[in-house]
């Protein structure tokens, strides 16, 4: 493991930040969509699930088009001194994009499964839609949101195709564990690759385990019994 532990740290940092952002975005998106008429939802659902359907390399390619120096957005960001391509922020963006559908769809399902009576009760009590959402709908949907979080985190940790494209594969900077696995495999160094596979398996067991325990505690706090 010549690269030392930095891929591990980069992976964890990236996945944690990306998951945090995805969780918030996913919840907000689900919130917006469940308010739409049912007829409109098939379209939003289809679109918001796209990042899961497209091969990550294609996503990376689109991201490159969006954030690259040839795009207006990329230009604008460059003016502000922000460079997404070949930077850690690119890795985070890639991870957010690929993990988003998982969070969104799972959260939306949890919202839909909830007892509508509670929402109605909140409304007649004069609670604002915002309060009802954050203080009732979200806590009550915690099992679903938690599942979305676990999936999003796992996907973010494993992300690789899109990251490679937009953030590059730069040791110590954007080289995450999946990228080092890719590089090692490409260079025929199966031994190194398997070491890192072991690392990623360990991470995911630990972090998913940790998340499960944390979620169970939250639910116990919230759900009584």
């Amino acid at each position: 493991m010549a690269e030392g532990y930095s891929p591990l740290l980069i992976s964890l940092k990236t996945a944690i930040l990306a998951t945090a952002v995805t969780v918030v975005l996913g919840i907000l998106a689900a919130r917006l969509v469940i308010r739409l008429p049912e007829k409109a939802q098939w379209l939003t659902d289809g679109i918001l699930t796209l990042p899961l359907v497209l091969p990550p390399t294609v996503i990376g390619f689109f991201l490159l088009m969006i954030f690259g120096k040839n795009s207006p957005l990329g230009q604008a960001l460059l003016q502000l001194g922000i460079r997404v391509v070949f930077s850690w922020s690119g890795a985070v963006i890639a991870a957010i994009v690929v993990s988003f559908p998982l969070m969104y769809r799972t959260t939306k399902a949890a919202f839909e499964q909830m007892d509508q009576n509670l929402i109605d009760a909140g409304r007649t009590l004069g609670l604002s839609e915002r309060y009802i959402f954050w203080r009732i709908r979200v806590p009550v949907s915690l099992p679903g949101i938690g599942a979305g979080m676990v999936l999003a985190f796992a996907r973010a940790i494993g992300e690789f195709g899109a990251t490679l494209m937009i953030a590059g594969n730069i040791p110590g900077k954007t080289q995450t564990v999946p990228l080092i696995i890719y590089t090692a495999t490409a260079a025929g160094d199966m031994h190194l690759a398997m070491q890192w596979v072991a690392v990623i398996v360990a991470i995911s067991l630990l972090s998913i385990g940790g998340m499960n325990i944390w979620l169970a505690r939250q639910e116990r706090k919230a759900g009584g019994a």
Binding site: A2, T57, F61, L64, M65, F67, G68, K69, N70, G74, L78, R83, V85, F86, L164, M165, I166, G168, N169, I170, P171, G172, K173, T183, T185, A186, A187, G188, D189, M190
Partner: protein, 237 residues
Amino acid sequence: QTGDSTDNINLTISAAASLKNAMEELTPMYQEANKGQTLTFNYGGSGDLQKQIENGAPADVFISAAQKQMDALEQEGLLAGGTREDLLKNNLVLIVPQGNTEITTIEDLGTDKAVQVALGEPSAVPAGQYAEEALTNLNLLDSVKAKAVYGKDVTQVLTYVENGEVDAGLVYETDAKSVPDKVAIVSKVPESSYKTVIYPMAVLKDSTQLDAAKNFESFLKSDEAKVVFEKYGFEPL
């Protein structure tokens, strides 16, 4: 644009993934000789690297596994003038799973001795392109095409051969040498049958460290570097 200060130079090199092992050995050598300079590598498929550069990836040097990508960047005016050089040559070899003695020549690919053959995806993998060219010129393409399995990269072709899923494969010599215990090199593919595989390199126009980048190029051309490249199966030019 070339206001290099001598220290704190950090060169970013986008290099074809197949160069990784050699470059890892060369890096400390270069940094020893050029105190204050560090090297950062970005490995990937040559096509991906090309796209990144086109979209503003801040690389100083690009080393491609084929001329095609370099040509594209040159046409787009993204290379620093006069810095493009051919660095290495690679050879296409015929490999079989360790212990397979049936196949002894490339012509055997056309016979029943080979049921399935792994090749790189011609449109995506340079090694696959060259293999197709060679097979065409050897009049084997029609018979091989029916039994071909295309890998998305050379590694995949190697894996198939290693595992005996296919009876033979065509890869670069360097790739074959990265897993010497598991695959056997039967023969080089006749050089006349395909265009020479050249790894070109160039400094990129947007580099702010032109001098250091050029210096790195000349280091790769040096004799001490050549020894390392040869060790990994390349033919330095």
